[in-house]
């Protein structure tokens, strides 16, 4: 079992905090091959995926070469800016961005940092729900099993309540045992109404009824729960299309938001999830849950960069107020532990 011992030994290192690693990385003398190898490792172990990790490292390398950067503080802020750009959906331009970076002095980079920070508020789609011009705003919540859809709905309602918006839940997960009951408890906690049918009934009719109820009562937002489904199940993906059609029939223009919930613990498969869900219905945003663990959720960056779906909210725990609007800057800072 000597091989095992080797693994365990190696893994102990992984469990050391990232911030430590990063500090060590940036404290080291040279910007040599080893530096970039280690950076690559940090990115990959954050679930960024090999491809994107290599891309980022290559961009950094060429920046260092072109700029003859020797200072590590400078490369750090460049890396930060690069990741924020990708997360802000400026991924295509990121290459140009790298080009722009050429010829810029550190102060300029610093200044632009401040600018991206200011730009975050105006950035489209991030951290907000696009409300319908006329209530109700219909929000469809989707995802694979166990990512935290029901919990996110409860927390989202609470967040909206803080903004003075009343919600009604549609208990659209009629498949899993006791899913309706779970949502009901969240409705009580968050002070929302709920429309639920029997287990095994048609989720479309639940959603239709909830929207109709919201229209007649003048409720602001309809949050539709759906059963967890693996993206590879064709029938269940078809069912989603139907739910979207039903929502549109109950209220023209609905659903106004279709949010895909992704578990931050998920690895590369989150990309397949986002791809296949988007093939069935138009995903307008992501909710990244379970970021309170040790997983970095780097795959969200990959999904954001490759599929151009904005990340709207992040889940940081099981409490009512543990759902927060997403900010690219904060996310990258957490990723890099700065």
């Amino acid at each position: 079992m000597s091989l095992f011992d080797k693994f365990v030994e190696g893994l102990k290192k992984t469990r050391e905090s990232f911030s430590e690693k990063f500090e060590v990385l940036f404290r080291r003398g040279l910007l040599d091959e080893e530096f970039f190898d280690e950076l690559e490792e940090i990115l990959i172990t954050s679930d960024l995926g090999v491809e994107l990790s290599l891309e980022v490292v290559e961009e950094l390398k060429s920046h260092v070469k072109a700029e003859k950067v020797a200072e590590r503080g400078e490369i750090k802020s460049f890396l930060r800016r690069l990741l924020v750009q990708r997360l802000a959906g400026e991924g295509v331009g990121a290459k140009e961005g790298a080009g722009e970076g050429v010829g810029k002095k550190a102060e300029e980079v610093e200044r632009e940092d401040a600018e991206t920070r200011a730009g975050a508020e105006t950035r489209a789609g991030e951290g907000i729900i696009n409300f319908a011009p006329q209530p109700p705003t219909v929000v469809l919540i989707l995802g694979v099993n166990g990512v935290g859809k029901t919990t996110s709905i409860g927390k989202l309602a609470y967040l909206l309540k803080g903004q003075g918006k009343r919600s009604v839940f549609a208990a659209g997960d009629t498949f899993r045992a006791a899913a309706g009951e779970q949502l009901e408890i969240w409705a009580q906690r968050a002070g929302a109404e709920i429309v639920a049918h029997q287990q095994g009934s048609d989720p479309g009719s639940v959603i239709f009824d909830a929207i109709s109820a919201a229209r007649s009562r003048g409720t602001d937002v309809v949050l539709c729960d759906t059963a967890g489904r693996l993206h590879t199940k064709y029938n269940l993906m078809e069912e989603l299309k139907k739910l979207v059609r039903v929502a549109g029939k109950a209220c023209p223009g609905a659903p106004h938001e279709t949010l895909l919930v992704i578990d931050a613990t998920t690895g590369q498969n989150a990309m397949a999830q986002a791809e296949l869900f988007s093939k069935s219905v138009e995903i307008t945003g992501l909710i990244l849950t379970k970021l309170d663990g040790t997983a970095r959720g780097g795959i969200a960056l990959t999904v954001r960069d490759r599929l151009k779906i904005p990340i709207k909210f992040i889940g940081l725990g099981e409490g009512l107020d543990d759902l927060q609007p997403f900010s690219a800057e904060e996310f990258v800072d957490a990723l890099l532990d700065v």
Partner: protein
């Protein structure tokens, strides 16, 4: 998927190097780079990959690979073997000795503990009398979920509302003893491995019930963090095994390797869907193929064997080679194939189909096509099914209307069927012909 076929990729690498004559250690490194990428893409932990590859390299250098005519295949073979070995070699069983024995299920939120508890109870109810215990008092309606599942399996579920989980666990032993249950399945609340208070609770439960098995439930889609999660749970509780869930998706499931590497505990079962019967023992060799993106042929064959009735198959074989093969038989055959599960699930198991199943559109056509064919046959009279020659234009119109298809569709089916029968007859005659000394037609 980036790496539809690892073996081909590595073979290509060597092909490029072939011109140079002798393969060197550097060439080997280049090939192992492909393996590294494949493993990382499959979510095997970075550190685990590193350690794993160094052992693969060591073995490869032992003349096995460099002198081989097909070094690519050799490497894949070694990788596959080492990975199988690392994941435990063979199927690993539960260690249940005392009565009542307790099995504790632990894991992160949403990994599938409650569903798994029900599946495990069903799986074990052949040899045991399990008692499901709802010790998740935190998640809303978790107790209710287990109760509903227990009811559907006709198995008792013990709960004490929102009492302390440690007390619930303790009381469950008493309950099991009284009711003559020899196995306690403890469903605990999902928790983060870094939540001190919640981890302490698990330790307290462990102290109270001294479980025979503590099984960590892990989502097969877990990424790089799998090592931290499994490591923490193992450190605190000393887990005895792992159950991998949501394996029915398209994830390559590299987390399995990471978890095994960091805990040394065997993976005992896999969950393959939401139904309580979608549960199987873990087979390291098959899973190694999956992580490498090589498909799972053995499972496919097993599935076919389990679903297809051998007796019926033999009868069908006879019919196929005789002239009595009718549309009725054809329909039965179709239904047998379909009873093996959705086509996309079957496709998943075929090597190289990983890429195909992404193109879901194609599969959709297939599934629909099969339904249409069945509908058409269903709209025929028994006489027509036995004797399709009698189907004229008027009958075709009736069949099309009855099955909601067009006359063209009916025509197409009849044409295909006639062709098929012709071919089958040829095969049949061939068999006879051989005996009669005639030559093969091809």
């Amino acid at each position: 998927m980036l790496f539809p076929n690892l073996a081909n990729k590595i073979q290509d690498t060597f092909q490029r190097l072939r011109g140079k004559g002798k393969l060197t250690e550097r060439d080997l490194d280049e090939a192992l780079r492909e393996v590294r990428l494949a493993l990382l893409e499959a979510d095997v932990n970075f550190k685990v990959v590193k350690g794993f590859l160094s052992s693969v390299k060591e073995r490869s250098l032992g003349h096995e690979v460099l002198k081989s005519i097909t070094p690519g295949q050799q490497i894949v073979k070694i990788v596959h073997e080492e990975m199988t070995k690392l994941m435990g070699g063979g199927v690993s069983r539960l260690e249940i000795k005392e009565t009542p024995a307790c099995i504790m299920l632990v894991g992160l939120q949403g990994s599938g503990k409650t569903t798994t508890a029900a599946k495990l109870a069903r799986h074990l109810s052949k040899q045991h009398r399990p008692l499901l215990v709802a010790a998740d008092i935190y998640r809303p309606a978790a107790v209710k979920q287990l109760q509903v599942l227990g009811e559907s399996l006709s198995l008792p579920v013990f709960s004490m509302g929102e009492a302390n989980p440690v007390d619930i666990a303790r009381a469950s032993r008493e309950k099991a003893r009284k009711e003559g249950r020899d196995l306690i399945l403890l469903d605990t609340a999902g928790r983060l491995h870094i939540d001190e208070a919640m981890m302490q609770e698990l330790q307290d439960i462990k102290e109270a019930v001294k479980p025979a098995e503590i099984l960590l439930v892990v989502d097969a889609m877990t990424g790089q963090d799998a090592v931290n999660i499994a490591g923490s749970f193992h450190e605190r509780l000393g887990i005895t095994g792992v159950i991998l869930t949501k394996v029915d998706g398209d994830t390559r499931g590299g987390a399995a390797l990471s978890v095994k590497a960091v805990t040394g505990c065997p993976i005992k079962f896999v969950g393959l869907g939401e139904k309580t019967e979608a549960f199987e023992p873990f087979h390291p060799d098959r899973f190694a193929s999956r992580i490498l993106g090589m498909g799972d042929v053995i499972s496919l064959v097993e599935k076919a064997q389990a679903t297809l009735d051998t007796e019926k198959a033999r009868e069908m074989e006879k019919k196929i080679f005789s002239k009595t093969f009718s549309l009725e038989d054809f329909k039965e055959q179709l239904q047998q194939v379909r009873s093996m599960g959705p086509l996309d699930e079957l496709l998943d198991m075929i090597p190289g189909a990983g890429k195909m199943n992404k193109a879901m559109k194609n599969i959709k056509v297939d599934e629909k096509e099969l339904s249409r064919i069945e509908a058409i046959i269903n709209s025929m009279t028994p006489g027509e099914r036995q004797n399709p020659e009698i189907i004229g234009n008027s009958r075709k119109r009736r069949i099309a209307a009855g099955s909601g298809t067009r006359v063209q569709d009916v025509n197409q089916l009849l044409k295909q069927f006639t062709q098929m029968r012709k071919m089958m007859k040829q095969f049949g005659d061939m068999g006879k012909g051989r005996r009669g000394g005639k030559k093969f037609p091809f």
